[in-house]
Amino acid sequence: MPSLRELQDAIRRSIVDRDDLDAAAWILDGGIGPGRRLSVYRNTFASTLIRAMRLSCPAVDRLVGAEFFDASVREYVAVRPPRSSYLDEFGGDFADFLEQFPPAQSVPYLPDVARLEWAVNCSIHAPDAPVLSAAELGIVDPADHERIRFQPHPSVSLVCSRFPVDEIWRSVLAGDDAALTAVDLSSGPIWLIVQRHESGIRVDRLEATTWRFLDDLFAGCTLGNALSKYPGIDAAKILADLFVQGRCARFSLANTAVPGP
């Protein structure tokens, strides 16, 4: 008689690794073979995760077609099954998987479309949080401005790509084949900010230096360090935009003006 530990390990092997050997020995036949019974659970595992991934990656799904998408997700969940039952957090490394997945190599921009969709997905599910206003910074002594660290709003993330994945993503979701055909894959790199607004998710392009400046700030770099790293940047305009768009949740003051990460 197996312990509960042995049994649950065996069921895991049956569902994820498709190895029924141990689990089948502990299951009553009753007119239906244990392998057939286990396959019900294996099918639910695959179909549930395919459905979840299709919801979070609708553009990848439509770009490659349902059959290819399903096969990709089956491979993906076999090597990287979800770590917890909170599926909103599942799929973060699907883009990395696609990058290494031989059958997907013919679509070089596919992993970056998946990265954008992951950012959109995180934005959709991000916790609600208050937005930092410029007025709240008014209490900071100007001499301390360079020690300010900004914490981005949980729904904000930055994405970049060698390909115009925002145009691809929009035209695929709109079902606009003409726009998709017109996308120029060699138009150069793009720098995106993704954020949840009252009206929904917005994906906006930023200028490259602004994106890098924000990327440093959001990674915990102090304002002073970020400014010295990007001399000549129009920080007043970028920061004003930060507040108007509600892109920060909080700020803190670094103890000393240490270099950011």
Partner: protein, 297 residues
């Protein structure tokens, strides 16, 4: 069918009425807000409201007009590894935020060694599993500071080394932990058909005082190459006639109990779902009549 708008409803968010409710799913969010169909209460999957943004805003709006119950599908009460503390914390935050009238989970497991197997998997009905489940129900009730309901599963296999009938296992969980039971009548029917159990005897064996909620849903029938059939609890169709009959038998045993229609795959237009709830409501009102006559007599 026509919708009867809900007006002048003054819900007590802390209690779920002994009426028919429906599972609220994303495709119906907007229709629900626009039409406010006449159903007694709503149930949502806890895992769908653990983040922020739009889903919570819809629920906040609907919560003003409908009592809400929270149904967890990811706590994995039967995991030998122990409960996922982060998930229990997320559940506790959802409970604090949503203030549900009832909270329920399943007699099943889904997680082993940090791998989520994306299904409500069957437990062996053993003393060891019983101890694990009771420990986790205790832990959950302690963290939430209130009673939960535990739902009977639908299963497609039985383990050779099971020693306790499922109905006894459930009764023991309720007895040892003080939790209530969510009696899923469709699951009883599906499991009874799949394993050759007597569904009415299953109902008879459950402690009536512990029953806090009933679930109804559709299931599918798969015919295998061997000619054998397997019923699958896919929540993708109307409630089967045999399940309605079993539901009537459950109401006779348990009295009027909050009853939910669940529909999770091939989700139909809202009026179809509300129509199923009306069928349950009709049976509930017969049951209430009977209870009244019984009191008068």
């Amino acid at each position: 069918m026509t919708f009867i708008p809900c007006t002048n409803r003054s819900p007590d968010p802390s209690s779920i009425p002994a009426a028919a409710g429906v599972g609220l799913r994303f495709p119906h969010h907007q229709a629900f807000v626009d039409l406010r169909p006449s159903v007694g209460w709503l149930e949502v999957h806890a895992e769908n409201y653990m983040g922020g943004g739009t889903p919570l805003r819809y629920l906040d709006t609907l919560r003003r007009d409908y009592p809400v119950s929270l149904h967890g599908v990811g706590l994995s009460l039967g995991s030998v590894d122990g409960l996922d503390a982060a998930h229990l914390e997320r559940l506790a935050q959802a409970v604090e935020r949503i203030e549900p009238g009832l909270i329920s989970e399943h007699l099943s497991w889904s997680v082993v060694r940090h791998t989520y197997l994306a299904d409500l998997l069957p437990l062996p009905m053993t003393e060891e599993a019983l101890e694990v489940v009771c420990r986790h129900v205790d832990q959950t009730q302690e963290r939430l500071g209130r009673r939960i309901l535990v739902e009977n599963p639908s299963t497609y296999l039985q383990f050779r080394h099971s020693t306790i009938p499922e109905w006894e296992f459930l009764s023991s969980v309720a007895g040892r932990t003080g939790c209530g039971l969510l009696c899923d009548v469709n699951n009883i029917y599906v499991s009874a058909q799949n394993h050759g159990w007597d569904a009415l005897a299953y109902l008879d064996a459950l402690p009536p005082v512990a029953i806090g909620e009933i679930h109804l849903a559709g299931h599918s029938v798969t015919t295998l190459d061997s000619g054998a059939t397997l019923r699958i609890d896919d929540h993708g169709s109307r409630v089967a006639p045999a399940v309605w009959k079993l539901y009537e038998a459950a109401l006779i045993r348990f009295g009027p109990i909050p009853t939910l229609i669940e529909w999770d795959t091939n989700i139909p237009p809202l009026d179809v779902l509300v129509g199923e709830a009306a069928l349950a409501e009709r049976r509930l009102s017969c049951c209430r009549e009977r209870s009244r006559h019984a009191v008068v007599a």
